[in-house]
Amino acid sequence: MNRRYRLSRWVLAAYCVYLILPLYWLLTLALRSNADIAGVFELVPSNPTLANFAEILSNPVWYEGFLNSLSYVLLNTLISVFVALPAAYVFSRYRFLGDRQLFFWLLSNRMAPPAVFLLPFFQLYSSIGLFDTPLAVALAHCLFTVPLSVWILEGFMSGVPTEIDDMARIDGHSFWFFFTRIFLPINRSAIGVTVFFCFMFSWVELLLARTLTGSEAKPIVVVMTRTVSASGMDWGVLAAAGIFTVLPGILVVWFVRQHLVKGFALGRV
């Protein structure tokens, strides 16, 4: 299909350059000292230094922020996938009272602007003693990751023929055996794509994560915003922190890339 599209090829190439330039600039600033950044403008750093990275790896505020972020993202992904799997299964296999209304209602939560929920979340989680824990952020992010997970998984599972369910029953397998040993392995790609999206939306969110954490569970993205306002403009360290937040994303994409192609293609198309 590609020979036909010379224009598209050029657009793709140009867009890749457009994508890379800001990232390249982030990397060069991360490798330079602040005095250097303010002093001269240069395309390739002439005095590269790893001091900014060392600052992040040695300062507990930074690396604890990083671990805090990872812990709520992992918690959120686990919760979302576990509750979404049975729900997506029954949505794809059964008709029941109010199923369509329920499905739309779930999706409507995905449309709620996080800014709307700032105050109620703050009060809710403070009143049950979860404020400033990774669990609070993980649960708050469930607001959009759970509906999304159900939606994605349901799309995949509807594409799996119901004959497979019947065959397993005829073969005398229990439902539990069928679900965990037969059905879930078939839907590996679906789970891969779901994990990708849960990770994506939980990792990148700032507003709720900032509101629901104090000093204990402060995520790295919040550390970044506070450093900027506190010590003037520490561009070098900020850029180095940026590099650290970009890396986990790249790792996740690399591991699910096969599922991603298959997944998007098989999914809700």
Partner: protein, 293 residues
Amino acid sequence: MAAMAQNKTKDNRAWLGVLPVMLIVAFSGVIPLMTVVNYSVQDILDFNTRFFVGFEWYRETLTDPRFIDAFLRQLGFSAAVLAIEIPLGILIARGMPTQGLRASLLLVLLATPLLIPWNVVGTIWQIYARSDIGLLGVTLNQLGFSFNYTAEPLHAWLTLLAMDIWHWTSLVALLAFAGLTSVPAACYQAAELDGASKWQVFRHVELPRLKGVLVIAVLLRLMDSFMIYTEPFVLTGGGPGNTTTFLSQYLATMAVGQFDLGPAAAFSVIYFLFILLFSWLFYTSVMRSEEDS
């Protein structure tokens, strides 16, 4: 959608399967939403002194010129974002190779901006576009444009748009790419035999098969661009003046900055209803045109 095609068993015990989801979404969605609705009809002086004011805050919000300005800016921004990102995403998807290491690397590169925390996206573009240390800003100034996004509203808008295109076009491209891989090679061959032009191939072979993914892409971009908060907050802080203050930012200032609970809650309800309305209108119009054809 695809879900409706299969023969499904009717069984109300299926509710047991959705119960965990119901509980978690009720906890993180319904309780807060009810709190917001509750606030929106009261005047809250402090947590013990409050009065019922009915729809007073709603009337005030809908006639507040700052709300209307922010709303119009928001509409303009979302429209511009959709008008650029959807066609660009389709073009990019058509240029993608389908297999091999190059395809994998391109996929990872395209997906990368989607996985960068939103405030980091703001930071990246801040240091990229600044006129003193940024690659883009300095280059533009050396080429003779006096580019300064912190002082010029037009420059701030262009920078925000450039950033959003950088951040989100990949999502459209990935979805469209997935849609294109579902087009059978035979369809292209048939079109070639018929002597179809490139445009005709796109219009009659590819576009119909892309419809499903494009609906999702437009819905996601519409909803998310309507809720944009973090990136402009970091990049421009809503300025210069109020020229890039969108709805979420205005709301956050009201709720957290000024602690005007009642008006902020009324604002929230109106905001949420608008997003629901737009998404529903778009969704039903697409579904109706599908039934007609």
